[in-house]
């Protein structure tokens, strides 16, 4: 992200973008059944939100606990706009509603940002925390606009169909979101390669020096926040269309927290990190919660382990692999890596079994002690299933013990070779 050669135009990039567009187009065809569409739509909105958030955190080093303020307020304005349009008082087509959200978000960026961006670092983080709590509390105090705890609802089907599109069916909404997602991704990416986008990196690394190359760091932060709050607003507008409801939780610290979480899972050091993060995050918080009551435990575990062992997020892992591949070292690590994963598998499985049975024992014991796990009925009162689970974990750990050193070895060699290649290259 930080180093780009002088390349007015670049074919590889074109290919990449078209591939991206294709994926967006094809996704609903692949994940058509069940709640697939609903999930995809949600991911789309969160992706935009994540991109906007990473403009602050990843690229600007501005840790915000209150970014939901901008997406949330954007969403509220969007939904009121929809209701006006529905009542025929404002001629705004649904497809343009995200713009309303974006502008609203931006407006609040201008307003709040002026205050918050006066400071950087921890102070900034704390101000945003205070701000989000303020906005959240007030949102419950003014039900006229925020609709109290029930929120504001709307009907996204405005007027009659325009060339067959009413935005009633989810699929149409998905494509609307996909469209905006694509546009936002392109623009945000473009932004990262503008003077402002680069200077904010400089501000992240060393604000003091930036002052001595002619830039007012406060302004840089302020402008970036305004831009990012625009995209946050867009995602808010889209979620308003998608859910047809906006409520206080849209401006809550929890929302802000979760986008921080997701973005970090994806990897704040990479442009595409937020996109990854959104996918994983939504899968965890929406999909998993349908299958198991322990989803929060899994999310917590996954997250803690990730932070602990890959602070660069999933993005960093991916990039490492890509790098090894790029330097033709993948063959060297592939085998050992495979073994490690193979070893990890039973361990994870065993863990999941244990957790599920524990939950069953403590929460649903009343409905009989039998728990159906992956199609197998296990009686949580008998030792057998526990032994199996324990055995699996043990096997996994032992396997890991065996496989890990080989992998470490291979990996180090590979990275050594790569390092050498780079040095000889420069």
């Amino acid at each position: 992200m930080s180093t780009v050669r002088f390349q007015p135009m670049n074919l590889g990039r074109w290919l990449l973008w078209s591939a991206y567009a294709l994926i967006l187009l094809a996704a609903p065809l692949v994940f058509s059944k069940g709640g697939g569409l609903t999930l995809l739509s949600q991911m789309g909105t969160v992706m935009i939100f994540g991109l906007s958030y990473n403009m602050l955190l990843g690229q600007g080093g501005m840790l915000s606990f209150g970014h939901a303020v901008y997406s949330g307020l954007g969403a509220f304005f969007a939904i009121h706009a929809m209701n006006l349009a529905g009542a025929g008082q404002a001629p705004i087509p649904t497809s343009m509603i995200p713009l309303v959200g974006g502008l609203a978000g931006m407006a609040f960026g201008v307003l709040f940002g002026y205050v918050t961006t006066r400071r950087a670092g921890t102070t900034f983080a704390m101000i945003t925390l205070g701000l989000v709590e303020l906005v959240f509390a007030s949102s419950l105090m003014f039900p006229d606009f925020f609709g109290g705890e029930g929120g504001v609802t709307t009907n996204r089907v405005i007027g009659d169909k325009i060339l067959g599109i009413s935005y009633g069916p989810q699929i149409q909404v998905y494509y609307l979101i996909a469209f905006w997602l694509f546009v936002c991704t392109v623009t945000v990416y473009a932004y990262t390669h503008t003077p402002l986008g680069r200077i904010i990196n400089a501000v992240r690394d060393n604000p003091e020096r930036v002052e001595f190359i002619g830039y007012d760091t406060q302004w840089v932060r302020y402008l970036v926040l305004i831009l990012s709050s625009f995209f946050a607003g867009v995602s808010g507008g889209l979620s308003a269309i998608n859910f047809e409801i906006v409520s206080a939780e849209n401006v809550s610290a929890i929302r802000s927290g979760s986008i921080l979480l997701f973005t970090f899972i994806g990897g704040i050091g990479f442009f595409f990190g937020p996109l990854l993060g959104a996918i994983v995050g939504i899968l965890f918080s929406v999909l998993l919660s349908d299958y198991t009551p322990a989803w929060q435990l899994y999310l917590g575990l996954f997250f803690v382990l990730l932070v602990r062992y890959a602070p660069g997020g999933l993005g960093s892992l991916l990039m490492l692999l890509l790098r090894t591949a790029k330097f033709g070292q993948f063959g060297r690590v592939a085998g050992p890596l495979g073994w490690v994963c193979l070893a990890a598998l039973p361990a994870v499985l065993g863990l999941v079994l244990c957790v599920e049975m524990l939950y069953h024992l403590t929460m649903e014991a009343a409905n009989g002690s039998v728990k159906n796990l992956f199609g197998v009925a296990a009686d949580t009162r008998h030792a057998m299933p526990w032994l199996v689970a324990g055995g699996l974990m043990l096997a996994g750990v032992l396997g890991w013990r065996r496989a890990q050193p080989a992998f470490a070895e291979a990996w180090n060699d590979a990275s050594a070779v790569i390092a050498a290649k780079i040095r000889s290259a420069s």
Binding site: S2, T3, V4, R5, F6, Q7, P8, N10, A190, Y191, H193, T194, P195, L196, G197, R198, I199, N201, A202, R204, D205, N206, E208, R209, V210, E211, F212, I213, G214, Y215, D216, W219, V220, L223, L227, S426
Partner: protein
């Protein structure tokens, strides 16, 4: 101090690049700069020497707007800059380096330099230009890169450069913006003889036609570069003169050089 050592009164001399008039700075109770007067003509290379804690870096910080003055006045090319913010001063054509390297550690060497040229090329806070398409920025960065001899490290993050390389980049960033008044704070600190000689060459090369003000303890460098030396002791400029005269100056000897120095620089 006596009148003969008094720095040339700026009023009489035309075309002053930088003028300090009775500049004072105190932190809390302690007054660090006690009415410093100094005038540097355009194109002049002036070195500031003085004991540790005399206030050299502080003086730089005052000139470059890092600290506000307590009193007095600083003029850049005739215009008053005291009270302005660092970035404003920089935009007026004054650029400085730091005693302890102060880089954008996660950005590549190339990006460090490109960032440094953006404002001076008028791109300001633009978020509509594509960096990749800014040929002038690219060329300027390349040029500096080549001047400081770091082409081979162009894609290396500044953080992992060796000490000497970092010092070079430090200078590169300082001059990249094309400012015509350059302040360097101990540019050769921590370098070996050989490296500092190289550094001197570099500095001479990149500051042709510019006004240079630098702090330096290494007399070799000082006498090698400067065509004028200002001696700062306890926040006062006790002398400002040509190298030969300064060398002869007893007051300077006692205050700064101490005795039997020459061995090493011979």
């Amino acid at each position: 101090m006596s009148a003969m050592h008094n720095p040339t009164m700026p009023a009489h001399v035309p075309a002053m690049a930088l003028e300090l008039r009775d500049v004072r700075k105190s932190f809390g109770k302690s007054e660090i700069i006690r009415g410093a007067n100094l005038g540097i003509a355009k194109g002049e290379r002036c070195a500031v020497i003085g004991p540790n804690g005399a206030g050299k870096s502080t003086l730089f910080n005052l000139i470059s707007g890092r600290f506000p003055l307590s009193s007095g006045e600083i003029r850049l090319n005739g215009g008053v800059i005291s009270g302005k913010k660092p970035y404003q001063i920089n935009r007026l054509g004054l650029s400085r380096s730091f005693q302890i390297s102060n880089l954008f550690v996660n950005l590549s060497v190339y990006e460090n330099l490109r960032c440094a040229v953006l404002w001076s090329l008028g791109y300001k806070y633009s978020f509509w230009h594509q960096l990749g398409k800014l040929r002038d920025a690219h060329e300027r960065a390349e040029q500096v890169l080549e001047q400081i001899g770091l082409q081979r490290q162009r894609h290396v993050p500044a953080g992992v450069l060796t000490y000497a390389e970092q010092r070079a980049l430090e200078i590169g960033i300082t001059i990249a913006g094309g400012a015509d008044v350059i302040l360097l704070d101990e540019p050769t600190a921590g370098m070996s003889r050989s490296e500092s000689d190289a550094a001197v060459e570099l500095i001479r090369k990149v500051t042709v036609g510019k006004t240079l003000l630098m702090v330096e303890h290494d007399m070799g460098v000082v006498f090698g570069l400067a065509d004028k030396i200002a001696v700062l002791v306890y926040g006062e400029v006790i002398a400002c003169d040509t190298p030969q005269r300064i060398r002869g100056n007893a007051e300077v000897q006692s205050a700064y050089l101490g005795t039997e120095q020459e061995t090493e620089y011979a």
